[in-house]
Amino acid sequence: MSNILQEKVLLEGLAREDRASVEQIYRDNYGMIQSFVLNNNGTTDDAADIFQEAMIVLFEKSKSPDFELNCQLKTYLYSVCRRLWLKRLQQMQRLGRQSDFLEEVVPVDDDIEFHEKRQQDFMIMEAAMGKIGEPCKSLLEAYYIQKKQMQQIAGEFGYTNADNAKTQKYKCLVRLKKLFFAQYKNGQ
């Protein structure tokens, strides 16, 4: 398989939340990113954090319908990590000498901006989830995150049938929606 094809398969796996693909991308690229961060005033923990965030950026990008990577995966990840790390250095005012590892860097500012917006939405949803209480939280997570069937959920939560569980789920969703939009609209 050619390199380009291989990377395409990996990225498709990533969009499907496939563990093996995630692991492969880590194995192929982590060393380079760690060296970059360590050489630019960072620690191994910083490197691990930055790499995780870059993976999320890549994941979000891979999910969009018109997704296409116009460069090598390695170049893209490096560009994102570099941008994210420089940004964090600026925030911490720890700017020192800059050393680059790859000559080639692609523009990633749009992707990172998109990611920051997504990240903000994620936090609002997470906060709303934290506020609705039990059993609402578990019920909604079982349905929308673990993607379980209503029938199974009814059994696990002790509802007599799937319809009752569904009714409860709707009530919970209405509450979650209110909490979410209260924050979301504030943030706009």
Binding site: Y30, G31, D45, F59, M129, T167
Partner: protein, 374 residues
């Protein structure tokens, strides 16, 4: 349109679950009614947000697991105790409380073994790691506790009338008699797991007897001990009955246990029918409990035993979990399969109904034992 109906419609619309007819009707409705259309758009947007949230959350989980794997392989290095895990955070709070309590009053610290047993059952790798750390912390606390217990014992030894403890105990919990012909005592499986060498039961008069665990079920966190010493005097049938059905919400209950060197009485009520994370083996009580209360009987005003105290939630005050008493029958069924115990059955002479609480306690306290060991 009602909000839930709208959600249902929007959700089925988004998932393509509507029939063609329904879809046309729904779209027509939206066209004619801009307000409704606005609500549908909002709803679809929200569902999309929720979907994204779910995906990202799942993905983050996979990232964490992948990273943990590579950390173990040595490819990634992380300083220990990264992240603000809830369990670890709670533990820190816990530890502070305990350290103060243990140093000031010499009182035994709280237990997390029960919760860790619960966590353990979730078979979640992240949680397992945390449990390991907690257990390590627990061991440190046990050492402090041991020292304070020794101090307490030393003080007792100086007092002329106090009985001399024969065993240098490493832990303390509670158990209660359920069968007086075989002298079976029920306690938590996690209590028994603490005992490496010796298991001792001690009655309210300070008399100690060796016991052995003949049955443990870590899933239900239930263990049955048998008193081995011949010096154990045969007692009259147990004064409480063991309830087969579930506890009812709001039932007033009392508990007797050994969070300290002497028996302690507590009160509470049944606050939920299921336990931690909807675990149906347990029910929830609103009361207070400490380490040492593990294995305490939970009895209602009519003298029915409803459950066995096991664990408490770490992030909420007064939320205590007890194993449903029906599990005792299940455990006894298992014991009956063992050689020599085929004919056992739980016999009780309920004599608590109608008595006032003080006389109820007087009748029950002889049947409640401190379980200790090392």
């Amino acid at each position: 349109m009602e909000d839930t109906l709208l959600i249902d419609a929007a959700e089925r619309f988004a998932r393509g679950e509507m029939s063609a007819e329904e879809k046309i009707f729904f779209e027509e409705l939206r066209k004619q009614n801009p307000e409704l259309d606005q609500l549908v758009v909002e709803q679809l947007f929200f569902l999309n947000e929720l979907e994204r949230y779910g995906n990202t959350k799942n993905f983050k989980h996979i990232l964490q697991e992948t990273e943990a794997k590579l950390v173990q392989e040595g490819m990634i290095s992380r300083s220990p105790l990264q992240g603000d895990s809830k369990v670890v955070y709670l533990w820190k709070r816990y530890k502070r409380t305990i350290a103060v309590a243990a140093s000031i009053a010499g009182i035994v610290s709280l237990s997390i073994v029960g919760i860790s047993a619960l966590l353990h059952r979730e078979k979640n790798d992240n949680l397992k790691i945390l449990v390991g750390q907690l257990k390590e912390k627990d061991r440190e606390i046990k050492q402090i506790k041991n020292q304070t217990d020794k101090l307490a014992a030393a003080i007792e030894n100086n007092a002329p009338t106090a009985p001399r403890p024969r065993v240098d105990a490493k832990f303390r919990a509670t158990g209660f008699l359920i069968d007086v012909s075989n002298n079976f005592i029920v306690t938590n499986a996690h209590v028994v797991n603490e005992a490496r060498h010796q298991l001792i039961v001690e009655n309210n008069r300070g008399e100690q007897f060796t016991a052995e665990a003949i049955y443990t079920n870590p899933e239900a966190d239930l263990a049955i001990l048998k008193v081995k010493d011949n010096t154990f005097k045969k007692m009259s049938p147990i004064p409480y009955s063991i309830r087969k059905s579930n506890a009812d919400l709001g039932e007033q209950v009392f508990m007797l246990g050994f969070p300290k060197q002497e028996i302690v009485y507590g009160e509470g009520y049944v606050s939920a029918k299921n336990g931690y994370q909807m675990d149906t083996t347990y029910f929830q009580l609103s009361t207070s409990a400490n380490e040492g209360n593990s294995g305490s009987p939970v009895i209602n005003r009519n003298g029915e035993l409803l459950g066995i105290i096991t664990s408490m939630e770490t992030n909420a005050e007064g939320v205590v979990f007890a194993i449903k008493s029906s599990n005792i029958y299940k455990a006894m069924d298992e014991v009956k399969k063992m050689k020599g115990y085929e004919d056992i059955r739980i016999t009780s002479q309920p004599s608590l109904k109608g008595s006032d609480r003080v006389s109820q306690i007087k009748k029950v306290e002889d049947y409640v034992f401190m379980v200790k060991g090392n």
